[in-house]
């Protein structure tokens, strides 16, 4: 009887981790800042999720780790810059509708550009290195360098500002806490994307095929599905998501530099490891955890922010060596 109970506890423990962290932080930080930080953490987490989710699906489905993922983040950010410059008329108006319209255009442009580049990338680079982890790592790192340099060639070496639109600057006040307006926007977009992803994976046939393929690639092929073609689509979706994440990250920081993706890379890897390679749900929880940890620790001990995430990863690995929600290992 108690065995059963223990098993149930083990099953639900990973889900409880995030709420526990949130609740534990409250007394340490104090209600006022806690609200701000929690929203900030959730927002950062959602943006990281957008970037990381593509990568974990790509890995889960085809065993490909794309070290060049950061390049797509950067491409998305830069394309957004170029698209928003002529739309300055819309973004500077004090009209929420126009602002959002401009942002929507930029988001779509970033997604399309990164997705298209992803298509080319899969054909030219990834296709050669299926099943060869060593060459994958090497070639994608090389490609990352090349793409980042090409970005500098096209847009120049200087960092470029990416201002927020007029209505999304500043903060709203809830009680004694201030929450940046842009964060709320990012949170909404991120949640919408996450919801769309969830619906796609659980309600559509293609999503079903993807989920099955992540578990057992050979079997899904034995059932007649051409997983290679599916993979191209997943790869493009992953890079498109990275592009959108890049745009929002860049706009949130108000400036875009060629290394914008690199700063996220280590956090994204930590999220993948914590969540379990291949698990979108794990990625979501991992991303939120990392976002929250960064903000809570960033408030309490600013220098320790990134270090604390690495420690978090180490602790979780000690508990669950394959991540919180591991998917079945491939052959």
């Amino acid at each position: 009887m108690s065995r059963d109970w223990l098993k149930q506890l083990q099953r639900w423990a990973p889900y409880a981790l995030t709420p526990l962290v949130v609740i534990a932080a409250l007394p340490v930080i104090g209600l006022g800042p806690w609200v701000t930080l929690t929203v900030a953490g959730l927002t950062m987490g959602i943006m990281l999720f957008m970037v990381a989710s593509g990568l974990t699906l790509i890995f889960g489905l085809m065993d490909v780790l794309n070290f060049a993922h950061a390049a797509f983040v950067a491409v998305g950010a830069y394309v957004a810059v170029s698209v928003l410059q002529p739309l300055a008329g819309w973004t500077n108006e004090m009209s929420l509708a126009l602002n959002l319209a401009a942002l929507l255009v930029a988001l779509i442009a970033a997604a399309v550009a990164s997705g298209a580049l992803g298509f080319v990338f899969e054909r030219v680079i990834i296709r050669q290195v299926y099943g060869a982890p060593l060459r994958q790592i090497l070639i994608t790192i090389g490609a990352l360098t090349v793409i980042e340099q090409l970005i500098i060639v096209i847009w120049g070496p200087q960092a470029i500002p990416l201002p927020k639109p007029a209505m999304l600057r500043g903060s709203v006040f809830i009680g004694s806490s201030s929450i940046e307006t842009y964060r709320l926007f990012a949170l909404c977009v991120g949640l919408a994307v996450a919801a769309a992803m969830h619906l796609f994976l659980t309600r559509t046939r293609l999503g079903l095929v993807v989920r099955a393929g992540v578990e057992d690639r050979e079997m899904i092929q034995s059932l007649g599905y051409n997983i290679r073609r599916v993979f191209v689509g997943v790869f493009m979706a992953g890079t498109a998501l990275a592009g959108m994440g890049g745009m929002m990250w860049g706009q949130y920081q108000a400036v875009v530099g060629s290394q914008i993706g690199d700063s996220m890379t280590i956090l994204v890897f930590i999220i993948l490891i914590i969540g379990g390679l291949g698990s979108v749900g794990g990625c979501f929880i991992g991303a939120i955890l990392v976002g929250l940890t960064s903000n809570y620790v960033g408030f309490l001990a600013p220098k320790m922010a990134l270090g604390s995430n690495i420690l978090l990863m180490a602790l979780i690995l000690l508990w669950q060596p394959r991540g919180l929600f591991p998917i079945a290992e491939h052959h």
């Binding site: 046939r205 099955a212 057992d216 092929q221 034995s222 059932l223 007649g224």
Partner: protein, 244 residues
């Protein structure tokens, strides 16, 4: 050899390597249409490799694999599956994180299930109805095997490749499985069945091919083999008494 049914599947001189190791050394045999062909042999004889090669999961280095007149040796696995070949691997290939329903759904062409086919499957494997919305990973070993086979037969297939379905199952489960296989046999489904359990082989098989060290060492009638204990012992190192 009784001459009922032409060859639906023919292997000629098939050599397969895994990495640097040669596993199949020129496999020749035939699976006749509408009959159950048993593929027997000791562990490591190459039976699973043969099935995987037919399915395209491993590529044959040399040799021909002809399915209903069409050469499939160089084709990709999804293509081969779409030609009407269903594969039930040794590890069953169940998607544990998906529900039983979702597992079955993946095996159908249409958006949903044809009620007739579904009823047929659930009749043979009633446990699946109970666990319909549960994650497939929560099923017992025997139930997973039922799901794997159910998935293979939910739509009409021209050839079933089944790898050691009774492995690790309780006697009751084995009986249920044999009943399902016999039902398929009555419907003239062509099956290529790998089995270690000689009793099951006897009950279900029409033709037999015995493998050893990557080669076929005997082909013939199941009935003939079943009555020839000396031959059984020579080929499989066991007799009727041992397999109980």
């Amino acid at each position: 050899m009784t001459d009922a049914g032409d060859a639906l599947l023919r292997l000629e001189g098939v050599y397969t390597n895994i990495g640097r190791y040669r596993i199949l050394h020129g496999v020749d045999f035939v699976a006749r249409r509408g009959r159950v062909t048993m593929l027997l042999g000791r562990n490591g004889a190459g039976k699973t490799t043969t099935l995987r090669t037919i399915m395209g999961l491993w590529k044959a280095r040399l040799g021909k694999i002809i399915f209903d007149g069409q050469s499939i040796a160089a084709k990709e696995t999804p293509h081969i599956a779409r030609l009407g070949i269903a594969y039930v691997p040794e590890n069953m290939g169940i998607f544990g994180k998906l529900t039983v329903r979702e597992n079955m759904l993946l095996a159908t062409e249409r958006r949903g299930f044809a009620q007739q086919h579904l009823d047929r499957v659930l009749e043979s494997f009633p446990a699946l109805k109970v666990k319909w919305e549960s994650p497939a990973g929560s099923l017992s070993g025997g139930q997973k095997q039922m799901l794997a086979i159910g998935r293979a037969i939910i739509e009409q297939r021209r050839l079933l490749l089944i790898d050691e379905p009774t492995k690790g199952l309780s006697p009751a489960m084995v009986d249920q499985l044999v009943a399902a296989l016999l039902r398929l046999k009555r419907e003239h489904t062509t099956i290529l069945l790998v089995e270690q359990n000689f009793r099951v082989a006897e009950a279900v098989g029409d033709d037999v091919a015995v493998m050893d060290e990557g080669r076929i060492i005997h082909t013939g009638d199941m009935a003939a083999l079943s009555t020839n204990h000396a031959l059984q012992h020579r080929l499989l190192g066991l007799s009727m008494a041992d397999s109980l």
